[in-house]
Symmetry: C2
Subunit: 248 residues, 2 copies
DNA sequence: CTAGTCCACTGGTCAGACCAGTTGCTCTCC
DNA sequence: GGAGAGCAACTGGTCTGACCAGTGGACTAG
């Protein structure tokens, strides 16, 4: 007879589990309301502190929202990847993670999004992509921040067209972290305008490949462009892993 | 003069922010301890309930761990795959993330790991890969669990050879989540042994491509194998996004 | 030296009080 | 009749204080 180690489970955790189980079974759906805290105290037969601690956890997971004075009780929120995103951010910000790892990961994510988008995109979505190119062209004459915003819109659209929310979330996170690390260097580069123009040209090439539905070519182009753009910020000794992602 | 809408910030949220800011600035590092709850009450000049609600949020974010009776106060945690995995599992349960999205993500991660590993692998690492194939061959005659373990060792080694911790982590997490969702179906398939043999054959093909340093071919092979293996578990209407990842 | 007990701390939960915010209803004034 | 003010009953946010189980270290007895 073999026993295994036991672990006490806190009362508030039990409440969290019950609520999430009810969500998984469809017995609670977004838009609905939980009972008030005082009602939950009665139903769960615990103190109000315990209920509130459970609600803090659920809130942090993006499951519910509480508003003071709201007479209808805590609201179930639409499902979102807020908490997953938080964990991805924590992963990306681990101290030992290098810039080259982040850039490599971004190349993979962007490349994959573009590859899938090339196959799945509708004509309307292709039009939207063209519009983002126009916006990028306009933003060049404003400033680097405006160009970054337009660039962001381009990549967010690509990720949306890929219809994979994990790609979307990872892409957003790693793009944000990479940009946070080297944004100053890029914005203050002496040839900033030239870089923006070249970047726009590359984006247009990618859109062309997407238009023709050539996923592999589009992904390879995008990865090559990212390598060219970012390799200068990475130590020579770490570029090998990035090169592996652009070979034919 | 333009004013913007204001939003009250709760006291416990302020505490969460202060702790997370201190982490971001490196003033707190994993392994360190926060002061005890009663000490935090004094430092933040709030009630103990408020401190505890903040700690529930931080705990839910994977930032700290509290143990009853621990005389050293709440512990700062390093990033952990467990928390990332937990969030992915939550999303899968409510179908905010579909099986096809998870499988697609896995194809991308595994494919990328194999592509980079093809370039970076050392002769010693290639030997290690061969050993995992031997272990898989042996495990077929044991049972599906043993084969799964050997399969896991293969993929973990590949991810390690890729020298990208983001790929490693995401790969491990998503593999665990996918396997958790469909493991029962696979283990009880009537042709389980045939599936394991075929899977072993595919892994050997991948290792061959890695040996010759052909990253693109290895990655494509791996993604094709995963598509063949998993496509049956995905609705027809969602297979298009997976097909995009295996086209030439 | 080892085992047991005690003490001072830790975190988990409870009960009750008070406060600010929200909503709906009623009353008064124009 | 319509608009505004006031009130009551609720909501969630925070506070205070008490009690309990768990942990580790110090002390004592064998």
């Amino acid at each position: 007879m073999q026993f295994s180690p036991v672990q006490p489970v806190r009362a508030y955790q039990r409440i969290v589990e019950q609520v999430e189980d009810a969500l998984a079974r469809g017995e609670l759906v977004p838009g609905q309301r939980l009972p008030s805290e005082r009602e939950l105290v009665a139903q769960f037969a615990v103190s109000r502190s315990t209920v509130r601690e459970a609600l803090r956890v659920l809130e942090s997971n993006g499951v519910v929202r509480s508003r003071p004075g709201d007479p209808n009780g805590p609201e179930i929120l639409p499902f979102s990847q807020v908490a997953l995103r938080k964990q991805m951010v924590r992963l990306a910000r681990v101290e030992e993670v290098t810039l080259s790892e982040l850039i490599g990961f971004r190349m993979i994510m962007d490349g994959a999004a573009i590859q899938v988008a090339s196959r799945l995109r509708t004509p309307e979505e292709l039009d939207e992509l063209e519009q983002t190119l126009v916006a990028m062209r306009t933003a060049i004459d404003v400033d680097f921040d405006a160009f970054s915003q337009a660039d962001l819109a381009f990549h967010e659209l690509i990720a949306r067209i890929s219809r994979n929310s994990l790609i979307q979330t990872c892409n957003e996170v790693v793009r944000g972290v990479v940009l946070g690390l080297i944004s100053d260097k890029i914005a203050h580069a002496p040839n900033s305008r030239a870089l923006m123009l070249e970047s726009l040209h590359h984006h247009a090439e990618v859109v062309d490949a997407i238009r023709t539905g050539n996923g592999n070519a589009a992904a390879r182009l995008a990865r090559q462009n990212m390598f060219d753009y970012y390799a200068g910020y990475v130590p020579d000794s770490e570029q090998e892993t990035l090169r592996a992602l652009i070979e034919e």
